[in-house]
Symmetry: none
DNA sequence: CATGAATGAGTGTTCATTCAT
DNA sequence: AATGAATGAACACTCATTCAT
């Protein structure tokens, strides 16, 4: 998918994480177009020219923000599903809790909102993001749901649809926090929000013969 | 004797709506900052100067897009809850189906994405939107859920959280369509998607003693 | 100098004086470039399009303002010098008083300021103004001074320089009123100002043997 | 050890003065509104964007032009009156000669015309100019005239009016040069013009018993 | 004659990008 | 490597001018 290695690639790895962090924050807060590189530089504590030592252009900075923002967590979670031994309901709980702790509740939590906002202006990045992040995440969910169905824990489901239905409330929490939630519009407590979500959802997908044991997030 | 409307007159009265429609499309597609007024004008088939005959500034145009985009549907749905006589599950189905038909599946479906993207740059509009749209929508959901609980149809729920959990998948469908979905990334069929959502969700909130009758969207 | 007669010319004579008056006021107040035709039209109580029924362009309006503003008073004063029988000092007093009453103190008093401000942008109008207004005015002054010298009332003077020296304070009063004076900066009383000017000036140009009889403006 | 100034550094410090000089010329020539920042930049030999490194807006540039244009000469002349030991007539001659050499005959000579033209559009600048320039100038004149009266050199005068009467011809010379005079309309020689003015004026204000010694400008 | 909706060239201002230091 | 002064293309906004009514 990505070029394996190149001088540019090597330099990219040396790019100060501060620049990317500053850019992510600004992009999430103002959007790509409304973010001025001056502000990114100021927030990172460097001069505007320094940005160009590490990134060829504003577009390149955006791409790096998206790619660097997800690479570190791409592999996480896959092992989670493999290694899991308990109930599938617990696995589902763990997946969601992990996503929230590793992404949603970190500074990476703004990436989904950013990607949604800028997909139209960066279709190739959107495609990259879809294939490398979303599809992989859906795969984890798919295997988890299939596992639960196979083991008689979950009832028969339209899995492809269920994946999105289940993940939507989690995504929305992250999106909300970086949009209207940041404007002082009503805030929810993630803990109880996810608890309610899992409670309803696990109830809704449980096999009729199975006994659902309600449980909040064990974070 | 009705005053004869000249073509020019007719045009003048229709202009604002045409301009707002064009602006909404562009704003949703490119974001506020990346949208050029020249493009909005061109899409509406007028010159740039004409925009300024009807809107004082780009900001004012944005505000009008949001406000005009929701005013027409503000009252809708309230009567729906009042008049409903059947089961609360059906009411929930109807509400979601109505939202999708009146908003999500129309050109207004991009407003949520737009509002999410630009909330940071227009906090006062975000607040306006929250108070006049989101809170009213949540109110409809709240009354519906409360009705179901009171009538023993739904089990006890943390209503405030449930509202968002239930609406998130619907919102996400509209958002997706105007972001990554528009870039060719995987498309879902809204019909079956909502059917799955309702199936799982109604199952998840049904009172243990109640019998849930699965039902797709009756559109 | 000007085209004698033409359809355009005939129409010009029918031009509403209100338009020219409104334009003069705006031009004097804001300058040519900063004056919007919308404002001129509004002040004249007509629509913007109507201006174009009478004037081909903003430039044409400006030219008309200058030309129409001075034509009515071009002939005045010439007869004054011819007919005068008293002392040359009195004639000088009368000329200045007449200029102030007919021009300086009317709405035409802004023309000098306007011409000064816009000479650089309308050199041909400036030349026209110079030749048809300023030179004629200087001629009146020259004849008056020459008359006084010839009659032994005034001492020998560098007449060409004296003309401007004598008229400068009068002009400045009109200019001041339409510039800083209109901003609330210190105002002078024209009566006593001119009295002082005439007193000093007549004293300054009187022939040593002559007796100067101080006299204010007899308005 | 003086820090070595790089050409770039030297340029940076000289920039504002270069820009202001270019702006003053353009403003005087065309007026504020008709002056394009592109032209100011071109005349200063920089790009349009560079202007904005030093001035926030066109308005700010105008304000700076006025303020910087007069600050350097604000103190001059005050000492002149204090130190003067000769006749008051000579002091008056010196004041006028100094004004002409330091302001009227330099590139600052356009400021009065500019201020007159734009007072209506910049009332606060006009007030600033009036209080900080005009009032101080009038003060010098007032003290000079009072000095002459007290010493019996000048006759009783309405001093406040006399100040303006005396300065008007000097001002008009500067104004003329930057308006109609620049269009090829009749030019006067400042030397003989001021000589005539001083001759007439000193004669006009001399105490009857005093002997006026005519004298040209000793520049 | 009169209107005012519509136009589009022009200008103030911003900001990504470059490069001399 | 790092800076920040300088650039100029791009865009929001204005307003003289036109023309259908």
């Amino acid at each position: 998918m990505l070029p394996i290695e190149s001088p540019r690639q090597r330099r990219k790895e040396a790019r100060p994480a501060e620049l990317l962090a500053a850019a992510l924050e600004m992009f999430v807060e103002k959007g790509f177009a409304a973010t001025r590189l001056d502000d990114v530089a100021k927030r990172a504590g460097v001069s505007k020219g320094t940005l160009y030592l590490y990134f060829d252009s504003k577009d390149a900075l955006f791409k790096a923000v998206i790619q660097e923002g997800i690479v570190p967590v791409l592999q996480q979670g896959a092992g989670m599903v493999e290694r899991h031994t308990g109930s599938s309901a617990d696995l589902l709980r763990d997946l969601i809790a992990a996503w929230w702790q590793l992404i949603g509740n970190t500074h990476l939590g703004g990436v989904p909102k950013l990607m949604i906002s800028e997909a139209g202006n960066f279709p190739e990045i959107a495609t990259y993001y879809y294939e490398n992040v979303i599809l992989r995440g859906r795969d984890l969910m798919r295997r988890t749901l299939q596992r639960g169905i196979d083991q008689g824990e979950f009832r028969a489901l339209n899995i492809e649809q269920a994946i999105d239905v289940i993940f939507a409330p989690v995504l929305m929490m992250a999106i909300w926090r970086h949009s209207l939630g940041a404007c002082g519009c009503g805030q929810h407590d993630p803990e109880s929000y996810f608890a309610t979500h899992l409670d309803m959802m696990l109830c809704g997908i449980a096999h009729p013969s199975a006994t659902v044991q309600p449980d909040g997030m064990h974070s």
